[in-house]
Structure formats: C-alpha cells, structure tokens
Amino acid sequence: MSNLLKVEDLQARIDTPSGRLFPVDRLSFSIRSGETFALVGESGCGKSMTALSIMRLLPEVAHIVGGLIELDGVNLLSLSESEMRAQRGRRVGIIFQDPGLSLNPVMTIGKQIAEAVLSASTSGVANNYVHDKVMSLLQDVQMPNPEQCVHEYPFQLSGGMKQRAMIAMALAGDPLLLIADEPTTALDVTVQKQILQLLKRLQRARDMAILLITHDLGVVAEVADHIAVMYAGQIIETSTVADFFKQPHHPYSQKLFKSLPDRARHDQQLAVIPGAVPDLSQDFIGCRFVERCDHHQERCFQQLPLLLATNESRQVRCHFWKDTVVCSSIMPCPALDDGKHLVITQSTENLVPAPPLLQVKQLKLYYPRYGGLFRREIGVMKAVEDVSLTVAQGQTLGLVGESGCGKSSLGKAILRLLKPTAGQVVFNGMDVAQIAASDMPSFRQQAQIIFQDPFASLNPRIRIGEILAEGIESLKIIHSGDLQDRVEQLLHMVGLEPSAKVRYPHEFSGGQRQRIAITRALSVNPSLIVCDEPTSALDVSVQAQILNLLRQLQSEKQLTYVFISHNISVVRYMADEIAVMYLGRIVERGATASVLGSPKHPYTQTLLAAVPAAYPAQQLFDKAVDTLHLAHSDMRLPAGKSAGCAFYSRCTFARAECSQLQPVERKVNVHHTVNCHLY
C-alpha cells in the first residue's frame, strides 16, 4: 500500500516575547490508507500542533517554517489558502476533544451537518440530496433516533451523541484522512468504547486513514495499527502497535508504562519520571529526555540521537536503546523497579477491622428543579439516592461511576459542602447532616477535600502562603511556632521549596499546583480527605507522582480517603474498598479485589469491559462480556423516574421485576455486596 499522508521534516515555530520555540521539530512520519496511526505523548509535546499543521489551521503566533506535508500526492504546504479550503473537509477531516465546544449551540444538529455537506459538495445540489446525505451520515455514525436528532440542538444530546454528530460532520466530504484529536478524552469509558468501535468500523467501511492523537496508551492498544511517541516536539519512537506493546525501546516509553497504575503494583510506589518536560525555548544539544532518563551517559548530553531503525518498521531515538531493553516484557520487572515498597497496612482481610471513621446511612441529596412563569419548584433531580457506606480509619474507599452519576455530589454531601436532603452522615460519632453550627469548625478541621482541576481550585490572586494559611487562620488551629514556619513545613512535606509561599499559583505547573492543593487540605491536620478526581487533569507521569504522594501521606498520617474517580485503574491502585455508583445509587460495593476481580452487577461488568487496557496486566475484565450492554449506554437516561432498577433500560439481563422493584442489597461474600435482582 502506498502512503496516503507523508510528513517530512515538519517544523513549526511559535514566536513569543521571550524567544522562539519549536513545538514541532523536524517531524517525519507517514500514514497508509486504511491505517490508524496514533500520535502519543504528554500535554505540550506538540501532538495537537502537528494535527493543526496538517490542516494548516495553526494559531496566529505559530508558523510552519520547514518541511513537507503530502496528502495523496498533493503538497499541502504549497497550496494557497483557497485551495487549502477545498482540501479541508473533502480530503482531510478533523474531530476535536470536546464535542460540546465544537458544535454551534444555536443551530440544530441537522443544519450543522447539512452545512458541512454543502461546503463539501462542489456545486449546487438539490435540497433532498442534502437531507438524504445527512440522514445517511447519521446512520453511518449509528446515531440513535436520527429522525429526531436532526431537529435537536447540541444541548439536548449526550456527550457521546455530540461526538457522533461531530464525526458525521467530519465525514460529510468523504475524507481520505480523518484526524481525531483526543476524540474520547472528554467522554465516559463506556461511551469511549463505542466511539472507538465506531471509528474502527467507519475506517474499514471507507478505507479511510485515521491520525489518532491521544495521551492514553490503552486507547492506542485498542484501535491503532501504528504508533509514534512524541516528546518535546520530536518523535522518539515509532513502531507497529503490536511490537511496541511487546517491548517499548525508548526509556521514556518504558517509563510511561511503569507509571500506569494497576492492581499488581498496589503495594509498590509507581515509577515516576522525575522533573518535567524541558522548556522548548532553549537550544538543545543532546537528547531532550536526558535530564529525566535513568540510563543517560556522557554521550547523551553531547549528541542528539537520530531515529535509528531497529527493524524495517521500527525506529527509536536513543543512543543506548539496546542497553535499556533489559527485560523482555513490560510487565513490572524486578530488575527495573526501584524496589521501593511502601510500608502500608496490608490487605484488609488479615487485620482486625479498624473502627469506622465515616458511616453514611440512607443519604439522599436532591437538587430542586425550577420552571414555569414564577420559577416554582416543579420537581427534583435525585443526585444521590439512598446511599449507605462505611469507611474505616486509615482506609481508602474508591467511588467510581460515569459522569453525572452523583459521585461528586456524594463527596460534597459527606463534607456538608452540600446539604443532604435526608439521611445521616456519621463522622467520628457525630451526625454531620444535622450538625450544629458550633460543631462545624471542628468537623471542618477533620474532613477536607482535594479537587480535580488544579487550575480552578487555587485562587489566582492570592499567594501560596496565604492560600495555605487560610484554613489554619479560619479554623484557629493551635500549633507551636509561627504560622509562616508551619506553611514552610507543609510545603516541605509535599516536596516544594519554602520560597513557593511568596509566589502566585500561575507560576506553577499542573502537578505542582495539585501538590499545593493537597498541602492546603493537609494544613488543618484532617483525618478524612475526599479526593474528587485528583489526577484526571494531569499527565500520566505527573499522575504517578501525585498518587505516590497521596499514598505516602496516608501511611504517614493514617489518613482516610474517599477517592472519587472515573478512572478505574487509578481507583484499583489506590482503593482498599470500592463502591460503584449508577444514577445516584450504589450498585455494588466491597473489597477492591473482590469487586474488580469478579464483578457481579451488569453495570460494573460493562464499566470494566469498556476500560481500554495498555497491556494484559491492566486488563480489568474479560473481553467476552464486552459490548453486551454497551449498545444502550448512549441512550438518554430517564432521570430516575421508574420505580425499578435504574440500570434497567441498559441491562441485557433485565427481567420483569427489574422495572418494578428497586433491588436491595445482597451479600456476595463478607466483603462484597451487590444491588441486583440477578443474585
């Protein structure tokens, strides 16, 4: 097969007041038609800039300064802007990360797709042709209820449906190449699975090439044929996916695998890549990864390694790749592990159960919904419904579920950041739901929260020292010594310089900001911390640092965590116990090993089957159960109206009683309960 897209020595430059930098530096790769080519890397490594260069849609400050981009024999860089416009949509289409931002909120889906169809067709076309084409595109992307969807606005659709509409628009001109820039990052795992399957199917039907840009190795393993790993604007390794996942050659690629959390590493620290991606504005002499590499030698500092071919389909940019490949497998390998084993309380079974620190009993949290002329309350949104939980001192409870299932609301209700509608939250013997105002400070001191977005969780106008002092001052924590000493001590605890206290949040990277957010929570010596998706906004290597820090702090201070995440691998690594939430209810809970090892509830099974695994050890659940319930996961969900099981509409095992009766909690074993009529 010939190459459809050929990129050679592509170089893009950004001019900033502080100097020039090259986000894409002499990049070469090629994609054959019908192939899925994955471009992988951490944020800021130049993946998206590469995609935008191919579309010639770079932002104003950036220019392509050299190289060649050839699509099906046409050099895209030599085209005029109007000729390029003819290429976009018709020969190369693009879909972006957030379908909510890419669709125009005031136009119906049908109109937006019709617009794409019209701009892709050469001359005037009949109205019914456009309509038929729109309908056929919607059928191609397997949009549920296409007749209804064409008349709907983006806000009426779910995230997965919006992404389907986006794909339909990108396909309107029957492109030869589809660029998918993180197409599933904003979606839930079950929806992600469907979108990936859809892309695969469309590709086969149309013999289309896909350039998939992602940070998720699991996604790559799932769909890609070929992979290129980018680091600091360069490709450092390229290979077929099969070979790559058997044995990555570049030290960076190997580290990426090791920083993925999985159950097998539960009692170990995750491997972290020290430091951060280098500043691109400097002049590089040697290897760009040298400062973070464990294997670096004198030569690495002096000479930039070239992309060396190791076999005909494989290249690696490392002088010593042969030496670094010591293990034949990427499975955790003793020779490469740092051997740091955490001293933490081992598996729960062997120990006397610790006293429960937190007990949630029949908790309900409803949001009122207003409507009508006088904004009267017309109903409620049941965010949390009849949730009961117990968390023992020093343990971690993982709370998993798709977005909108109420896990964050539950976390905030536990902390009384939201007032529960009914039920009890018993913390250390006091009922937080009915807590008196005078007891509030002492509760606030004992229970804290860490948020998802380290950029939104720190006030940009306040210096770090003041951020950290806020809780201490507000809750009047008594401690020996000066407040400033305490702040410095806190910073030291999470590995930050004491000078950080006079700086503002924007001067720190995402990972450092998350450390600051953790420090803030710790400043009042809490015993319980609710971690609300603390790593989902971070890169894999930074995620590993934060997870390690959280576990280290837990063992040092006997902290109890409620760990909320949609990322099951992370929860599996962190949690002693797991609770799976679906539409406000807990459907299954128990010891992590038991729940994830033999999931009972159909929803848990679906969730686990949908998680893309980068390698077998990460595989969470038997692929055979795959796709059973997936078909329905995109449907609009009734907002908990039916009397029966909330999962009823998506469940393939549903029986008559499921629609009538709310399932009650049943014991699977001592450490495992499930709410399902099947058991």
Binding site: P17, K412, L417, A447, P460, I462, E470, S474, H506
Partner: protein, 471 residues
Amino acid sequence: MTHYRLDFLWSDYLVWSIVSAVIIYAWYVQKYPHLLSPWKLVVCNSRGMAAATVFLVFIVISCADSIHYRSELSVQDGKSVYSTELNSALDLILEPIKKNREKTYSAPFATHLFSKETVKNELGHDQRIFPRLRFGGTHLADPVADWLPDIFKKSLSGILMACVIWLFGFLVVLSVMSRLKKTPIKKLYASIWSDSSMSAFRAVCITIAIMLLIGVPLVYLASYYHVFGTDKVGQDVCYQALKSIRTGMVIGLLATIVTLPIAVLLGVMAGYLRGWVDDCIQYIYTTLSSIPSVLLIAASVLMMQVYIENHTELFPSAESRADIRLLALCVILGMTSWTGLCRLLRGESMRLRELEYIQAAHAFAVSDWRIMMQHILPNVMHIVIMALVMDFSGLVLAEAVLSYVGVGVDTSMMSFGTMINSARLEMAREPMVWWSLSVAFTFMLLLVLAANIFADAVREAFDPRLKAKVP
C-alpha cells in the same frame, strides 16, 4: 501685607482626604514587597507613566484650586473683616488673567473685540468699529503690523525658556540619580536613551518636554494676550478652563467613590449569596435602571435646589451653596449610576462562586464575608477598575451634559458643562465663536484620556494572568 483666612469648603476636605488616603496607601505599600511589585510594573509601563504625568498636572491644578481662603479687607475694633469673595490658591496664581476682563467675546490672541461697537472717534462722529481690547495686546503700538512678529517672538522666547527649564530640571534629576545609583552621569545619560528598562523614564521626560514646550509659551503669552480668547462677559477662557478642571475631577472622583461601595457590595452579594438577597438587589437595580436617568437626576437636583434655597441659613455664602450643590450632584450621580457595574459584578460573582477554590474555602468554614472579600473581590477587581475608569470618564461627561441641560452644577461655578452651555448659542453665529467649546473639549479629552490610559496600565500590572503570558 494682607492677611488671609483659610476657609475650606466641604469638597475641599474631601479632595484632601482622598489625596491623603492615596499618600497613606503609598506609604503602606512601600513597606510590603509583594504589594509593591505590581506598582513597579506600572512604573515601568511607558505609556502609563506618560499618561500619569499628564494626569498629575490635572491633579496638581485641582489641588491648588482646593485651597480656599478669604483675604482681610480691614480691621475694625481689633476684629478682621474678611472679603466676601472666596478665592483659591489657583486664583492667586491666575490673578492677572482673572482680573483682565474684556467687555465681551474676543478670539484667541486677538487685539480687538469680536463684535463691532459704536464708538465716538476723535472728531466726535459715531463709528462702527472693532474696538481695541482693554488688556489683550495693549502693548502693541500698531496691532496690525506688529501682531504676528510679536506673537512669533514671544513664542520663540517661550520655547527657549521651556528648553532651559527642561534641561535644568533634567540635569538636576540626573545628578540626583547618579548620586543615588552611584553611576557616573555620562553613563546614566547614555543608558536613558538606549536602555529599554529606562523607557518609562524616557517617556516621562518626553511628556514633560512636550508639556513645557506648549505650556511655557502659553503662560508667557497669557500675560499679554487672552490665549484662548474671552467669553460673552469678557472672562478669559483659559482661566475658566483651568477652574473647570477641579469641578470635573471632584465629580469624577467623588461620584465614583459613591458608586463603588454600592456597586461592589451589592453586586458581589447578589452573585455570591443568591436567594432572596439576589432577588431584592436585582429588583432594585432593574427598577432604578428603567427610570430615565436624566429625569431621575433632574428631579433629585431640583429637589435639592429647593432645599438649599429654603435653608439659606445653613449655607452662608454663595460659594458654599454652589459647593453643596456640587457635592449633592456627586451623590446623586453616584446613586444612579451604580447599576451597570453592579450587574457586571453579579454575573462574574455567580461564575466565581461555583469555582473550586471557593468550595475549598467553604471546607475551611471560612465565613461568607471573608470569602467575598478575600476570594471574590480580588478576582473581580479588573472589572471594577475598568468600569471605574469608564465611569470616571462617563461622569465627567455626564456633568457636562447635565450642566448643559441646566440641572448640573451651580451657574456660578465654572465647569466644562457650563462652558459648553454658554457657548452653545454662539455656535450658530457667523463668524462662529468656536474657542470656548474647543477649549472645553480639549481639556476634557486630555483629562479623560490620561485617566483611561493610566488605569489601563494599572489593570495590566495587577492582572497575574496577563503577567503569566508575557514573562
């Protein structure tokens, strides 16, 4: 030697308390490096510093105009009798041009009146001629022939004087700086014109040079001519314009100070607390903003005028009456113009209250009041500063409009509005009396523009997100 008695008006006290508040703030800021660092950025912004220099001149003029006194006329039975006329330090400086009143209109630099008059000539015949001015250009023997060379000569010597003053000042500053920084003068001089870190200093020097080049010749000429002409009653327009600056400043500053706490407090409270507080505040500002503002202001001003006239005993002099009227106008303008800013702040606070750092503060049981002050207020400050400057300009302009309509400041008080108002009829005249309006326009433009550019520099320096982008 005449004796003086300082006699401050209410607005004088307010002006000086604002000035002292700024000085106290500056003294407080220089003690803390983290508060000082954004101001250092302001000082390094050449555009902002040039505007600040111009603005400073306006401030100095208004301050000089805010020191009022009465001069002693005579002493009776050991008691001094003071003049009924209230003068300010500015009047003292401008005494010559204040006193030199012509009969009616005269154009800038004119030697003759603007309109013809019937005068008797030496022979006793009635003649319709443009009579010579009483003060403007009286030193010229032959006004037709000598006029242009005289103006040229005087401007030239004015420019020369300006150069001398500027050079002298520059050298003094340079030598002081070289002593402080311990660098030789030559090196310092070279660095000023080449070093980019000195660009703000350079901009200030250039601004001062331009102001001197325009100002000094005008001041020199002003003692021979009416440089901006005279108005209907022969009053020098230059004097009027300079006196109007204080009125504009007082209205701009005081009205924004009245606006500020109402708008900020209500806006942040409505956005952050929501619920019935939000409903109440929204109700108030929608009602207020649906009443035509000029109507509302006119009604309030007229009510206040009636009150002043019925309580003359409270306001002994005409000046104090005019002054109270000015203050009342500030309060009225402030009370009616907070709705726009309030609405903006409510929207922004609603966005901010959902952010995670606010929730983190809740998790520390930080009080609502503290959250509003510590977390929300600093994050809406850029809106406040922008809106304030817009308001300052808007209020200076609103005063002009209101005085034009006749519900603004007292007619005896000089302001840009009254200047425009008195000039409006003459616009229809042929040849046109253009100078009153143009002078008022130019002064207002300079004042508002300087304020806008300076505030822009302040906003840039205080926005940490902007700093992040441009390291």
